[in-house]
Symmetry: C2
Subunit: 436 residues, 2 copies
């Protein structure tokens, strides 16, 4: 059976991988990008170049929009040369960009107001990075009417791993909401990876062996494992994931949270540090360059001989920092997701196997989701007081070294507020009670 023609716009790091993967699966893919060089590179990779948005859309029953932001999507869809006017009757339109759910819903509204309810519109943000995009093994969170999801399903499945296509209940916008609450963890863990390695460097610890310990410990995050090689090689000009991308996602989160008057202290702290780094000129660099906010030299320049104390005790400080931050990050993401009415079982399944994943999320996070807080906390797990005590030592040590620990500090404030409310003797999952 011959594959349908696909229209495509947005050949950035992610989009290029997605589009070329579809080409390799036998689809005729007609792609446009504002940068002619990207279109040329796409043609070299076997794709069909489109010289205009119109050319990319006319006659295409399937269309994928993978531009970088909602304003770009708005121009692509509804601008003077917007594709909606050129899409054929009953076309399926996938918006794979990460955008606010409110924007996704506004697209559905605008399609209706333009008399294009025939278009099957699905908001389908993706996660997993450029490599998975090229492999067709992304995580995809798709929201839309059931009929649209059924029509879009095969194409979505081509771009995602077998178990990583999430059809999110709730209609258009539900995919974007799911992506957003996933990105709460991503935005915190990306900075957390740099914060941990920066503190390790200030402690005189060897970067590689510290990273190995993190990987095999309860402190593991997907982001740390993914970012560490670029961080240590300083492969960040431009690197695989520009700082401005996660800053944009953080902005979607904090803007949506403010609209709901929901506190996201950790994610908002991360955003402030990202904004500060942009002000220093790091916007176009890979987000693993955030390590410079914590340690002013290459991690490779740290020699164990400069260790200022017992390396094992110092390593434990780094692990404790990450575990504490990951705990509060899990609480923040879960509380925010719950407040938005997100399907929590699906949220847990998705995060556990995606870029927002952490060991702490699959243990303490699951307990939070299952309501195992307070007296229900499993015996043997740490109390909130114990986490507070560990994190206080980390923050104090960092302070003595004049090393910033923005996230560790913000997490400690949240934990101390929880302790002040009387949850200190309870399981550490009680920290979620600080959130509405």
């Amino acid at each position: 059976m011959s594959k349908p023609a696909i229209g495509f716009v947005g050949l950035g790091a992610m989009g290029f991988g997605m589009a070329t993967h579809l080409v390799s699966e036998g689809y005729p893919v007609y792609s446009y990008d504002v940068f002619p060089a990207s279109v040329q590179r796409f043609q070299t990779a076997g794709g069909i170049p489109a010289s205009s948005l119109r050319e990319s859309a006319e006659g295409k029953l399937f269309y994928v929009c993978m531009v970088a932001s909602a304003p770009q999507a708005q121009a692509v869809l509804f601008g003077d040369e917007g594709i909606v006017q050129y899409l054929p009757h009953n076309a399926t339109l996938l918006l794979c960009s990460t955008v606010p759910a409110s924007y996704s819903r506004s697209v559905a509204d605008e399609l209706a107001s333009r008399g294009r309810t025939d278009i099957h519109f699905v908001d389908a943000p993706v996660s997993g990075g450029a490599k998975r995009a090229a492999d067709g093994t992304l995580s995809i969170m798709a929201g839309g009417p059931d009929s649209s999801l059924q029509i879009a399903r095969d194409l979505l499945q081509e771009m995602s791993a077998p178990s990583k296509l999430y059809l999110v209940p709730g209609g258009v916008g539900a995919g974007s909401n799911m992506k957003m609450v996933h990105q709460v963890l991503a935005a915190i863990h990306i900075l957390g990876a740099s914060e941990a390695m920066g503190l390790a460097a200030q402690l005189g610890l060897d970067a590689q062996s510290t990273a190995d310990r993190i990987k095999s410990s309860e402190a593991w995050t997907w982001m740390h494992e993914n970012r560490f090689p670029r961080m240590v090689e300083e492969d960040w000009n431009p690197g695989a994931s520009a700082l401005t991308i996660i800053l944009k996602d953080a902005g979607i989160i904090t803007t949506s949270a403010r609209q709901a008057h929901f506190p996201t202290p950790l994610c908002a702290t991360a955003e402030q540090v990202y904004i500060s780094a942009v002000l220093q000129g790091y916007g176009s660099k890979d987000d693993s360059a955030m390590v410079r906010q914590y340690y002013p030299h290459p991690l490779k320049d740290v020699t164990p001989s400069s260790a200022k104390e017992d390396p094992e005790a110092a390593t434990q400080l780094v692990l404790n920092l990450m575990q504490s931050v990951n705990l509060v990050a899990a609480a923040e993401a879960i509380a925010f997701a719950r407040s938005l009415g997100v399907d929590m079982a699906q949220f847990f399944e998705l995060v556990s196997d995606a870029a927002g994943g952490s060991k702490v999320f699959v243990t303490r996070g699951l307990e939070m989701i299952e309501g195992k807080i307070g007296a229900q906390a499993p015996t043997g797990t740490q109390t909130l007081d114990e986490v507070v005590s560990q994190l206080e030592k980390v923050v104090q040590k960092a302070r003595d070294l004049h090393c910033p620990v923005h996230l560790g500090n913000a997490a400690l404030s949240v934990l101390l507020i929880a302790k002040g409310k009387g949850y200190g003797g309870e399981g550490s999952t009680s920290v979620i009670q600080v959130y509405p």
Copy 2:
């Protein structure tokens, strides 16, 4: 009546002013400093140079220690050449450095263990800046046994303004605790001044006219008024108050707060930004250089023509930012002071007329101290919801401009946690209920 000889150590920005003021009041002041050039300058100003700690102490019935930190004080007092061994019987020893209360108490203990209970020891940290030091109009917070305070009183009064000598009940350490809780406000307001002016610049507002508006509004802080001239003139090499000084004070606060497991989210956020600036090389510069963390160019380069929106509305955003931050700062300082058993009436009186003062502190702060929160809030004052709504607009606008607002963001998190606990409809003073 002839004035007694005074031994003195520590001729930094503050100490030099204090020592030369005592000289001008007719005291024979024998002063030592690790920098011979400072001693020379002191001699030129009419003081008596001491070539060693021993020379500064021998035969002096009154001794003032004004070094920069507890470790320096420890060396001066009890090191190999420490002054305690040289002070005569029944000498009065004033420790005017800003140190943790626990350190002040350890000095009293060490005097006892060395058999020098004859020494009248008073912990007497000061506030007010170099100019007031030189004028003898500092605020001084003195703690010690009543008998010691009586003996020290005349000398303390020489260095302080008539109404600004606070004899703090509670013995040795009480003065340091009072200084510490005052510095919660100082540490927040110093950064707040830069944050407000940085945002103003990003909004395209003229610095001088914005500062004038702040001065005449409810957003006024002593620190903004004091720092603005140096900020706009970039008079910060070295400037009057090095970043490392307020960083040290912030460290005393957050370290003491952690020991008491007390959350100080705003002050701890300020500390993280100070640490980050030190990492960027700003340690020796005046703390008004923190404006560079928010705006990368001189404030004077902002021209009204670059204004991106209605200047009046933009100015209101800046005022709202400061008022919101000052509100949470007041709550944080008051809650922390209360937890330490500080005399709240004295704390209010002191702060209202010292470097930690703000318009918000003398209005909303007084209401918090008097328990006028919740249903007791005066009619006509803003609700917590109203403050949240105003601050959300500021943070969103700053976000859109890619301008950091570290304090505004942290204050919003605290306010949103309070709102989440159900205090939204109450008076804004209810924010203090987030704190233990």
